[in-house]
Symmetry: C3
């Protein structure tokens, strides 16, 4: 169990109070106990400081002096907390080696862990320290960078590329066919073979049951540092720029080009064949149907209201055209009256 | 094949007509045959009663006398039908025992069935009569309550807790990491280890490809009796209160607290860090972005209309501010005119 | 490597220029090289023709003469391209036979390929040339038509029917229980056994992590030629008519009847117990909550706008009722003024 002083020595920041306090774990202000360290993310939570039972607290410079507890002053307490939490909670070690129930048709470094009942096809390149979870399916020709971890039940289609230090959660499907068909006169569909790949950069995290399709002709690209939450659809030939992040249930249509550091809220939708500028913020539930050329916050999420109010407003919305016509007519008549007056 | 009289003896209700009719199965009024029993859910479907070929019908007291068929009068015909349907269609028995192709690293009671190619990690507690379907991945330290059934391809991450008599459908992922990162100045993300668990109460049903993330610090909680449809995302540290139900494709953001008996329609979205009162009804497609303190029906689902009408209305919507300004201006001018008159 | 002349011989169209050019692959106008053939889908992309390095181009009659390159004139260049692309990129052959790690409890024709760690239950009917990918779970009593391909990690529940020449992508779940419960007085739910099946016609493609539930009493039907993208939810007793297509993240509620050749954009939602006419087009993000009796384009997708503008407009939207009342009041007062004038 490290002491507060040891933590400051390792991660920096300003030690306040008793540095000999032992810290076993991170916790929230509400639930922390005596051997736990918590953090104050913003001043609006300052009231929790008085009540917390945490043994120590990470606080921003602006909050210095607002608690008698031992602690660490750091410019960005949440970031400090993240790094400390990682150190106190290293990822579970997976035993190196190939489980006897796995089926592995490519050469695998000794440092790699292949879980029970996993399948790795021929011609794959699996780098050092990769962890392939139980029941994963890695098809032929896939490349996986060093220290990447696939949890159980991940599927990677043939020839896809996964960078280093990625995390892929269960049920993620990388490289399934994009949705591309030409239409016959009778309305039936002729499949366009999807001959591109899905290519994930380093340090990408892919949530549970998220799907990243392979490209139709070129590749689908998810650049380094991108974080995708659960149940997201990334269609063929999309490009997601580095360090962009998307919350759950987002859908991105084909060939959209999303810039770097773009943040996309849950259930948002992005149409195909458009561009989104670096650093754009797309609010939850918002639909982007045109290119966003300049960064900013873009929104179209309609918040819930009492059902009867909603129905009334929608009824008016359906007749906005009429409403505008009535207003225009009235304006004319008032002009006439004003002339007469 | 039970007779109508035997059914009434077992499930109650008032027998009407010939109790010796044999009943092999439940069916809809439209498709029932002579050995099948159907039900009248509401009086508006009464016209179907005249046409049905069902051998017997479950009807509400208000419909008594509206058919010459043998039947059962019950206060809630749909509920009666549900119980009877369960009795006539018991879940398929899974053979107790561990399939030789499964990999099981925890002790398992004799009554448990572990399907082909399933994986159960070490330190799990699997209760009596549990069914683990083929290809399931149950990581270390997971606890599964008695008589719970996992269909094929379910994933449960380490240390999660599943109650008794739960049903988890294929592709469900319980306990993947929540979506939590601190941001570096350069826009890159530092992962917050997700050290909580996902905890499901008794009698929970989880639909296909639905995801319930583990908590960041505390746990994600799905209380007893909750029913989740397919492709739902439950983020970290959410609490879903008992007997709440959500239809398909709903997304719930982190730390939302959903009360008991809340009903959520398909594709609805619930923002994070808010509360929803017991017994609230969230309409399909509706976004809840603020706390709902009192129960009621909440809606924000915009229904489709002919494309050209929609485009016109959206154009006006974009300029509602201008419209209101014009109205205000007009009001002033009319006041002036009235003064002069 | 076929020549242009050989391609025209096989697929028709009018050969323009040097028929001896060899073609190794299809590519986009932007990225094609000398041995690749591209296509001009519409005249608006004509400027790309001047720049392309493609060895040959498929063009529509209206574009004849707009390039000096060798090429093929075809009525529908995209359709021509699709057929040619299929010929140049045949699906990967899967080795016939059962992988020794698979668990197969039904008789399988010699022409069938069963991948590593797949499970096929008893009483299944698997037709000639079917490919069952690694890690698939096919429960008892399932029927799969000839030449259908299941990629890895597909789940098919008992007794479901899959047509011929279908493609099912990883994580697809066919035949999980529909979402049906009767409610007890105390708010708890009694499950309605889902005794119908999911039935897919010939030539259906199902995207990654898409779910098609089994019927409650009757069957859920996906007719021949239907194409479903990723992460789509098809609820119990839905019928999707032939050659309809749905983009990603669509949700269809129970018992909806969707006609033939209907096209549904991404993230659209379709309520239950309604009908959609043949050839209807549902725009992306649009909610269909009532029967669509006549084909046409139906829309309710609200496009994103700068956040502050949106908030203002939503505020007005919330008070549309008041706005209309103010307008009505003003109309009355102007009438009064006009009388006086």
């Amino acid at each position: 169990m490290p002491t507060l002083a040891e933590i400051v020595e390792r991660f920096g920041g300003l030690l306040v109070g008793d540095g000999s306090v032992s810290i076993s774990q991170v916790a929230s202000l509400e639930h922390a106990g005596e051997e736990e360290i918590s953090f104050l993310a913003g001043l609006k939570y300052r009231s929790l400081l008085a009540q917390t039972k945490a043994g120590a607290v990470i606080i921003p410079p602006a909050a210095e002096g607002s608690t008698a507890k031992p602690g660490i002053v750091a410019d960005n307490p949440y970031l400090y907390f993240a790094r400390l939490a990682q150190w106190l909670n290293p990822p579970r070690q997976a035993e190196a080696g190939i489980h006897p129930s796995a089926v592995v048709l490519s050469p695998i470094p000794d440092s790699v862990s292949v879980g029970a009942l996993a399948y790795i096809g021929p011609d794959c390149e699996i780098a050092e320290n990769v962890v392939i979870g139980p029941g994963c399916i890695v098809e032929s020709g896939v490349s996986v960078g060093e220290s990447t971890r696939l949890y159980g039940h991940v599927s990677i289609y043939q020839d896809c590329v996964i960078g280093a230090r990625c995390i892929l959660h269960s049920g993620a499907v990388i490289g399934a066919d994009g949705f591309g068909y030409a239409r016959e006169r009778d309305g039936s569909w002729v499949k366009i073979p999807q001959i591109g790949r899905a290519v994930l950069g380093d340090d990408v995290e892919i949530g549970a049951n998220t799907t990243v399709d392979r490209g139709a002709l070129g590749d689908t690209i998810v650049e380094r540092g991108v974080k995708l939450d659960n149940l997201i659809q990334i269609a063929h030939n999309v490009k997601v720029g580095e360090n962009s992040a998307m919350a759950g249930c987002v859908g991105v249509a084909g060939s959209a080009e999303i810039g770097a550091r773009v943040m996309v809220g849950g259930q948002a939708g992005i149409s195909g064949h458009l561009k989104i500028a670096d650093d754009t913020v797309v609010s939850a539930r918002t639909l982007i149907s045109k290119t966003i050329a300049k960064p900013g916050v873009v929104t179209s999420a309609m918040p819930g209201m009492p059902h009867d109010d909603w129905m009334k407003n929608v009824a008016h919305f359906r007749h906005l055209d009429l409403l505008v016509a009535r207003l225009r007519e009235l304006e004319k008549r008032v002009v006439d009256l004003e002339k007469e007056a």
